[in-house]
Symmetry: C2
Subunit: 393 residues, 2 copies
């Protein structure tokens, strides 16, 4: 008999979204005419800007002509795209070496695959959290230590004394999914300083950076010294609406040296052995998204979602309901009113308003009593949801 990875047997099945769908189905059975508004899922809804579509059309056509046909892409990405990523970081006064940029099919793949290059480690993960951080580490049998996000720290936990004495891989997502909260520069400095002192490594998830309006960092590399202790994972999914196109990138600085071994070199070996690069058409699309004109067009879509977030934020503020996010993020993370649990409030919103959100407890024990609402719906739906909620909250 061959051996399976028995760590998989320690994974908890996630029933969050299937439970949500079951409850909606039950409700619709009894109320077939209910006009349900879904503000639960973190997927974009606006179509891609025309200049990106034009880029993909042209790239597709090139593949049909002998002189412009392209075979295997470079494993780490086409230089035309890596150069545009480099230029994008320049906007934030961050200088990234071309050799440290790895184009991929998405942040989720990189988040999971990165663990390939590490041995067994202590892992520091906030609670509540994007479930992929936890599950991938269970698969690798790592020792996961949770750090509490809560109302007291605005769901932005910082290093504390009890954490010293060990080295960790630290997951930081800012602006955060699910809480919408963003670390400011001072707070990120604390994390970078902690990582240096404890010889730890930060994996920084910047998937939502394009939502930032305020003066909070877009990249961990805006913090001095971060490039020797932090990997950054980024995505075109939210910035350019590429959830269906699949493109992301990971920055593994050559300056990260673990006991004489360069992580950049290990990641290169990983990617050249277990990955064969990203579709030319996708890379052209991503590269167009990163031109000055492309960024402008993508930001138009983001402004649409941000206006929804603003409307939701103003509403909950008016109602005196505590929340984080809404600024710099498509997510509003609110405290369930009337002392309800996450699932009680889910049922309440479903029955009283026909509005769907996501119970916070689905993101970890500290999410109990909280609830995530997204701004990815249409403006009409968002306004209608607010109108209905206004009657009962």
């Amino acid at each position: 008999m061959i051996n399976i990875n028995t760590n998989y047997l320690n994974l908890k099945e996630s029933y969050l979204f299937s439970d949500i769908n079951k409850k909606i189905k039950e409700y619709k059975k009894i109320n077939p005419d209910a006009k349900i508004i879904r503000l639960g899922i973190g997927d974009v809804t606006l179509p891609l800007p025309k200049l990106i579509v034009d880029g993909m059309v042209k790239a597709s056509q090139e593949m049909g002509v002998k002189d412009t046909f392209r075979g295997y892409p470079p494993e780490f990405g086409h230089d035309f795209l890596r150069n545009n990523v480099k230029a994008y970081y320049k906007r934030y006064n961050v200088d990234i070496d071309l050799d440290d940029i790895f184009i991929s099919d998405g942040a989720k793949s990189d988040m999971g695959n990165l663990l390939d290059i590490f041995g067994k480690n202590n892992i520091l993960i906030p609670d509540p959290v994007y479930p992929v951080y936890l599950d991938t580490n269970i698969m690798h049998n790592n020792n996961v230590i949770f750090i509490d996000g809560n109302k007291d720290n605005n769901f932005l936990p910082l290093p504390n004394d009890s954490l010293y004495g060990k080295s960790y891989i630290i997951y930081i997502c800012s602006p955060n999914n699910p809480t919408g909260a963003s670390y400011n520069k001072e707070q990120l400095k604390e994390w970078v300083s902690f990582a240096k002192k404890t010889e730890s490594l930060i994996i920084y998830d910047a998937a939502y950076e394009a939502f930032i309006d305020n003066d909070v960092p877009h990249s961990i590399y805006e913090i001095d010294g971060a490039s020797s202790i932090a990997i950054e994972v980024a995505s075109f999914s939210k910035f350019a609406g590429f959830t269906g196109i699949r493109c992301g990138y990971t920055i593994v600085p050559s300056s990260i040296n673990i006991n004489g071994v360069l992580l950049n070199k290990l990641w290169k070996r990983r990617q050249s052995t277990k990955f064969n690069g990203v579709s030319y058409i996708t890379q052209v699309a991503a590269s167009v998204a990163l031109t000055t004109e492309g960024i402008k067009e993508c930001q138009k879509n983001l402004c649409y979602y941000k206006e929804n977030a603003r409307l939701l934020k103003e509403f909950f503020k008016k109602k005196g309901i505590w929340f984080s996010g809404g600024d710099n993020s498509p997510y509003i993370w609110l405290e369930c009113p009337f002392g309800m649990s996450s699932w009680e409030f889910f049922q309440f919103l479903l029955e009283k308003c026909n509005v769907i959100g996501t119970p916070g407890v689905g993101f970890g024990k500290n999410g109990e009593g909280f609830f995530r609402i997204t701004s990815f719906g249409t403006k009409e739906d968002t306004l209608e949801a607010i109108r209905r909620m206004d009657l009962v909250l």
Copy 2:
């Protein structure tokens, strides 16, 4: 200090293709006017058929329109594509359950990522071999046992008595890269029977199946009972010329049960945690390639390469040089003439004919004294290479 995956330090750097390029560069320095013909690399060169390009253009345009925009794809692939994969297997009288088909960004990713769901195992790998099988297993610290391919067994090793008594993960690639050799039905039956008796698992690499003309199996599932002991990895790279488009699929039958654990369920968990599906545009392209009309168009391109293979095969036959492949494969794997080593023959062909191939020793110790030539060049180049080789061989 955090821990890296120290198995990476046991990997040998592959200098094969960089060494080849270095030698070409040196030669060109002294002979700047040399018209070098490259028959070394396994990448396709013909543009994509028009109806596939049209599919991609249409899919790209759909992404720019609100009503047809698509967000996150299903993690295991769109059903329109999985259904076409299922129908493709029907051509070979193989019935695949839709639920067992996993669409991916390519066979190389799947080949590497599959090891995620396994623990430590004995691995049976032929020598010579596609280097990815070996390197990925070194990364996972598996116990690799080589099985000899050689002239005596036509580079088609079969299970032998000394292998009984252990369970293995067995890598079989047929038609083979680099040797071009294909197992017939009787030989695959031996492997399936061996796997059953030893409670082993076969990972079957069918990347080159579309080159098959003769009566050899296209899929391991053409062998009775294989669906309880074999995973199959396939690709659109060679079949449809998708090396730059990135699409493949892996079949993990629900009937593979390892001590009560279904591999299908583990792979689902792996893919839903560390992967976010394949670009909609890519999946549309793949789906068009698998229509009756699409298959016909793709086969036109394959016929072009096959004609090159036939020309090369006829040439080496005329010269009395031993080779495998050429049938059912884009590769000719020949014994170096005049008792030369792989690298000696490389240098000989470079200097005497300005023709580039790949030294067989780059694929393992049993490749010493052999040489790989591909049919992916143009017909003109292939004929010219033959003309030049005819003068010196």
